[in-house]
Symmetry: D3
Subunit: 256 residues, 6 copies
């Protein structure tokens, strides 16, 4: 039995509070059960040196946890003077995922800094962070369009992520909480764009291995969960969310 | 005219949401107008090496800001690999202030780690942090008493802080917001315990100087503002707040 | 056309020179085409603090490149004073992969340090590193068994890795070289144990996305390539390789 | 009884040796009893990036102690690879204090680097450092005027600092030595400009609290002590000191 | 008796494999007995800031060891986050030695980065590194001449180094291996250019002292050993080596 | 012509002020012309981990310069967060030199920390530092003997160092000042013990090379200069200096 009587294929309660903090161009508090992440998108009118004068923009992401976001307090990375390997791995993942869905040439010579700060952790912080990061970028982009700073929508669809895993009984579970994650035999993070397009698949069995069949079951489940996230993103982005959804559907039907 | 028609001697809207995050022994979201700080108190059953075996505890504090807590995004201190001088100054101040009000021998061989993370900044983050830090410690202490982990209340009263300053027109202002702070001639942070006891007075006139009279006016104003904060702390701490207030008053009357 | 007229489903020339350097308990120079990695396994008679007194061992891995292993010289990480995110990601991957195939309780309170140093890079350094790392560990383990320092074989099979990808023409390729890797739309690293067991699957489409069908084609191709690597590992490990292969087959037939 | 039969309101023996080291534009060895600090002012013909092209200068300060300036040897900050919080706090204080007395627009696009290196410590190193730093800057400025590198005196008066405190018997003391400082209940550093203008007031009661009356008594005592320091600065600066004193007095009388 | 029946005045087996790795402009694997160092010379078309626009080039060197190049595994300097004093000392020595033999104005505004990576250590790594570094630079330079990127040979001769020492029996030894080095009373590194010109002499007697006579015997022996190294460098550099030798001899005879 | 009409074989004015700072067990301000170094010896009653329980002591040295000890201000190493290669090289040299003259088993399980802080630099800082470091150690040792903390003199003689060089005119010079050092073709530092015993010889010709004959001339000159330093050390150490000199002479005559 999962906590709160969840079914194996059921997401936790998901929530997105847009404009959670006032300074960023776009921000959201995203909640997956007890996991809470403040995601913000900051637009800066310049690009890193390697892109200067090329007429294209950049997106980069950072991820951190408050020291007591977790059961045990963690030492701050600023006090240790270095960023942990796990943190680097996650922020590289968030950045790559976002760059797959944003047409960088359409945002001009700007950098979008995405900050994902976990204020409370209960498993799945990286997938919540990706999902919230896209929403924050969506909010920032919709305002840049409104303010006519950019003229063309740079987003090719929605982007969200979820974790799936196999527990010790061989059961495939969606959206693992911390207890499930730490006892799972296999753990997989799936990032997708709307339209069923895979962006990242990271499956790991540290203490165990997994079969092709398990891989497929996990992917099926992830796909279902991610659809829920796309729906909430659409709603949170309001009118811009509607347009984004319509544009994507049209594009897909054109293809067919 | 101050923002929101505030009077010179008027605090911004103050709010405290206890138990804002679930893992810490005590936590609060403290709000001074648009300044929002998550304060948490984590109790650890050991002390730093220099205190081992001495039967006494320790309190230490850390302070940080989310990169986009401010108007302009700041680079993370973890990315820079070092903690800024300003941050160190503030966390040393918070720690010293808390140690003035906590009887460390009454908490046993435990460390209370206090984390103050500014999620939105609009001036006065260090004074909001001290005020919230005390509240988080109060919540943690009340639970340690309830759980009979400690038998005696280690707190000698309430502790809060506020900023005061002198603007370019020579007007003395209470609880400066960011705009006021960055244009003020003199800026002072006052930390007090209930009963009118001064803990820290830090007055600075970088571009200007100040007189003894201005110093006194600022202190008078700070004292008034801090009383408001004590009242809200008392309320937020519930039954424990009542007891703390009663104990302090009795002690004071005994003295008299 | 691939370099050296390679077929899409063809590995580069693979070579393993055992005992390439004399001090480590096990070492190998592994070559995938022009990619060359010195892998060494160092056995130390102690474990990290969190494992002391638990009767179990530990395996950890480090990865680095000589500054001029690449087309352009890279600044040394020791000069920069910090390890890059990419490096951390790779060494965490190598460590996890090795821990999936080694029974840590069977090596006693020992740490096996695995060092993978790329002396020449032409794509696929992380998969070559994992493949060589296992071989170096196999050599070290076989000597520990011979010297009766351990009594039971801690390895549950062979372990190897390969990269696969989809190029701009939608063609699925095995074992990408640097040119192919930098122009591929999708890049996937697959780590497997003998017996067709998946250990890690990391698929990424930074500039593009991929479908479930492409994912499956890539996995099919990876599985074929990895079989070649298992064969060479078996040969390089000599008598111990034979035994390992036999033990694994028996176990599998028992299961059936 | 204080060491050397000092009265509560008596400074230690104060000495300033100008031009103590030969390379800096201005330097002084300042002595407060057994506390000895080498202060030097280095003039550089450029400013930090944020000031370039604005026609204004900058002053910044650094503070350090020789490892064996103290009773117990301290590890060098260069060996530890980071500057301690206490050091940062002090150097920020020295810099702010100096900037309050120097008209930066009158020194042109130059940076004055002030280095305060404690070669022997016996309490009050930060106040000795501020007092010596001003003197070193005064020497450097007088030579810039003589050499006609600048045409206008950028200093608005003298600047000095002293510590005051309350001991366990409730006695208010001036210019605490190390023993007094480490047993005092309250410790306050006061920075003033000539003319009775307050620049910084930093009062702290870590183990104790203090009253408004004690604060006022400490400020009275500090003011007296600082007058002695102004007199010695005037003498040490020679003819330039005379002019600075005269200019300031005239300005004050104009005001009245 | 020395290992492998070596005579006191005999070098270990020396080998140089040119173009050992493919990317650098020049590279060599140099072997002194069991000491093996990969030396590479990377030519970059720019110079450090202090040389920009001066029409002259720069040579700098870095030195490192694989963690298990030695009997005991060493922690990576990148993991420690800082370069050890010994490493810095060696790379400064290699750089200085190379700059003594290269006419920097003849290589134009280019930097030659020399990397010496010890893959197996058995004493004398720094002298092997210098000897190999020169050879790698020689290969790079000969190609720059061939490609007419430079028109004039910037090398004034060959450059090599060897260690000499005095053992506990007072015997003077050439080219010490690790065992000899760690038990020697005196250890000296000698760097020479062809033509008997001394470049660096670094003699150390940590546990002992040495006499002028011992110094002279060591220098005599070093000179003999280095001649062997020059011969191998000449051979390794092929036609360019011949020319370099001829030019040097002519120059010398001109002098006479 | 040398500055102040010095002869080629003449030392600068040398001075040693013992007990220059009060806290260290031994300290001296050593002056070679305009080069001034505070050397202190701090005795600590413990040894580094690798020596614990072995009944022997340790000596280690650190070297630093005040930022404005030089013509141009240098950035502090603590601000840069790392110790420069030059600094490491020098402090390793000072430590090695001291360990050659101190019988570590005779000081018990103690560490002597030697700090050499250059307050004014004009060439030859490392040789002045070695010379002063020995004197500070001598003072500390004589007091440990007086206080009967140790019973046996651990020093085997005096220890001093001087620089010698060859200028552009081929003239061999003793004790180079900064101008001479920066224009010299060859620069050599010689460390000796009394009795003519060589401890370190470090000769370098970065822009030039040198001959065996020049090497010998430099050594002759260094030996003469160092005798002057021994005489001053003897005098500075007072009664202990006399005994040390007598003991050494006796030992030498015994040998003969």
């Amino acid at each position: 039995m999962r906590a709160q009587n969840r079914q194996a294929q059921q997401m936790r309660e998901i929530e997105m509070i847009p404009d959670y903090i006032k300074h960023p161009e776009g921000s959201v508090l995203v909640t997956f059960g007890d996991t809470k992440v403040i995601c913000s998108a900051s637009v800066e009118n310049r690009v890193p040196p390697f892109l200067r004068g090329k007429g294209t923009g950049w997106i980069t992401a950072e991820y951190a946890m408050l020291p007591r976001a977790t059961e045990q307090r963690n030492i701050r990375e600023s006090s240790k003077g270095k960023v942990a390997g796990r943190t680097m791995e996650i922020q590289r993942l968030i950045g790559r995922a976002l760059r797959s869905v944003v047409d960088l040439s359409a945002i001009g010579e700007r950098t979008i800094w995405v900050d994902c700060d976990v204020i409370q952790a209960d498993g799945g912080t990286r997938t919540a962070a990706i999902t919230g990061a896209f929403t924050a970028v969506g909010l920032a982009v919709s305002r840049m369009l409104e303010a006519k700073k950019i003229t063309e929508n740079p987003l090719s669809g929605f982007l969200a992520a979820v974790s799936v895993g196999v527990n010790a009984d061989g059961e495939v579970l969606l959206d693992l909480d911390y207890n499930e994650d730490s006892t799972a035999d296999v753990d997989m993070n799936v990032v997708m764009q709307s339209g069923g397009k895979l962006v990242e698949v990271q499956g790991t069995g540290e203490e165990a291995t997994f079969t092709r069949q398990e891989l497929n079951e996990m992917l099926d489940l992830a796909e279902e969960g991610i659809e829920t996230l796309f729906a909430l993103q659409k709603e949170t982005l309001g009118a811009f969310g509607e347009k984004l959804d319509a544009a994507r559907k049209e594009e897909t039907s054109n293809v067919t």
